[in-house]
Subunit: 386 residues, 2 copies
Amino acid sequence: MRDVAIIGVGANPKWGELWGQSLRDLFVEAALAAVDDAGVDHVDDMYVGCMSSGLFAAQEHIGSLLADYLGQPHLPATRVETACASGGAAVKMAAIEVASGHADIVLAGGVEKMTDVGGGDATFALGSAADAEYECYHGATFPGLYAMIARAHMDRYGTTPEMLAQVSVKNHGNGALNPMAQYPFEISVEQVLNSVMIADPLHILDCSPITDGAAAAILCPLEMAAKLSKKTPIRIAGFGQATDSIQLAQREDITWLTSTAEAAARAFAMAGTTIKDVDLCEVHDCFTIAEICVVEALGLVEKGKGGEATMAGRTARDGDIPVNVSGGLKAKGHPVGATGVVQVMEVVKQLRGEAGERQIEGAKRGLTQNMGGSGGSAVVHILEVA
Amino acid sequence: MRDVAIIGVGANPKWGELWGQSLRDLFVEAALAAVDDAGVDHVDDMYVGCMSSGLFAAQEHIGSLLADYLGQPHLPATRVETACASGGAAVKMAAIEVASGHADIVLAGGVEKMTDVGGGDATFALGSAADAEYECYHGATFPGLYAMIARAHMDRYGTTPEMLAQVSVKNHGNGALNPMAQYPFEISVEQVLNSVMIADPLHILDCSPITDGAAAAILCPLEMAAKLSKKTPIRIAGFGQATDSIQLAQREDITWLTSTAEAAARAFAMAGTTIKDVDLCEVHDCFTIAEICVVEALGLVEKGKGGEATMAGRTARDGDIPVNVSGGLKAKGHPVGATGVVQVMEVVKQLRGEAGERQIEGAKRGLTQNMGGSGGSAVVHILEVA
């Protein structure tokens, strides 16, 4: 397998409720930004992560659609889907194709247009990432599923609503420094705890928002990077993907994210490194409890200690293991198919030293963890300065 | 890149309106049949081609769901989607991963549960493979789009309704010999021409049906095939994928399937062969006119001569270039995400000499052509006896 590098990244200037942009507009803007960042004049193949353009926008076949609108009507282009981990899967597919030698320059993108839903609603569309027959049809959509995880975590490990809230407070603090964030402002623990209850113990400020957005990355063989682009190449040292029982009810321990632990183990084995060698992590904080479970599954902290570690500031921007320096899904927004790609974009910018006010000084290696459903799938990437 | 072989194939025993089987049941049956055919005891990764489990079954995230129901809850598993070419794309993805060296045994499957649509209808779901904003919302769904292609072909090349009907007659004749076919019976040109008109000049017997079904294939490195399986390995000599403007209105010539021509050119370049070296083809006859355009785009016959060649029996089972010996989409059924995989299954069975009454004697090399939308995307595979 060839070594693979990322030489370009791009996204819409600001994520949010982008009423003036359709799915195709969002994607083309992000893809062209990545092409421009890399400085390449063409791509050989394209993967688009998107969870549900069908339910959100009555549009499947978006590989073809987006290649066409990108002005590349004969480009091979495929949509990949693993619910909210679709973006991560798109980056993995692109990495495998470049590694294989079948293509040299591959675009991995992600997009979701969530605010302008025709013929349904966003909660129904998102619910399709859970088990439709055994969860959704009985009323269990994601706030409820993650609330059950939170309750179990509180019961078993003494995690408190304040600890959950602190995840949100930390990520909003970081997001306030990120120009693309949907909600770029600080909030307090009190504000989180006083915000409307969605599914006890999760308040609305424990939940990531509904967002329109897209992101893209350009991959090529590491050995060609210097010739193709002026940007510092960022090497994809490892990637791993894993699934878990899609139904929460079928898992042995709902507080433990096996898919994340397995995906990380595969990525670290490929990279020949461990979590101790990682300088920053972008992880899937779709709900505050998710980030707490993820930092445990990644081995950043001991099992059950995610809440305490957050309260102690260990995952803060100036902590020993910065998590979601970008603002995370909570502040930056969560256009589901794009999230896994923008996580990669943030780590690339950090490793290049281009992260402005939120720069982690001297960062040499970063990790992204992108998750589908209530942990039914996960994709982990380990990126490093080449 | 490593050479890649197919060592197992499987599908449901019979496709059709399978009211007793859900999406997960259909897929697991096909996947286990392929695993059993190969004789392997595990797989390392899985790709599932599926056009719209969201719109057909309110269920996304089916990679995770199906890995779970297959009894492999931690298996990496990703859905790939390029409308009706999703199955072909799944096989391509699996081939790239095996070729790369990242995984050894990879399952490529396809599934669609189309008859039990909740909260919508099948025509709406299928229409999402066209441009929602510029075609579907204005009433142009696929029978109408292909009818326009047929009218243009008739006008330009003198193709007749009888020529279109003959495609259906030929494919039903082949399908009568295929135990898995949804409609395994012969029909006559007269029956086609007297059947109800759907979108002039396409009668209902010019159209492939709505079908429930799944299919799967097991891929591995050619060099490991003999060790892993007792089955004759079938080598994937080449594959190619391409897109075209998704909107019919934006193409220079709607009778010419550029995506198919480009995908085939790439596959042949990779295989180092030409269409003249191919003994049989499985192609995407979603409508009779589609098969006529496809045999032209593949270079099997001269541009404009697809209808005449069909009438002359050249594409018949005993013709010089047998096309759709399986019965094609028309007789076998068209569960959209599964079609590209079952095309591969038919060619594998033919090359192994296991095709029973429809066996093409001495077949050494076969081609599959799987198409999305009105030709917005295409995936071509070239398979040969190793």
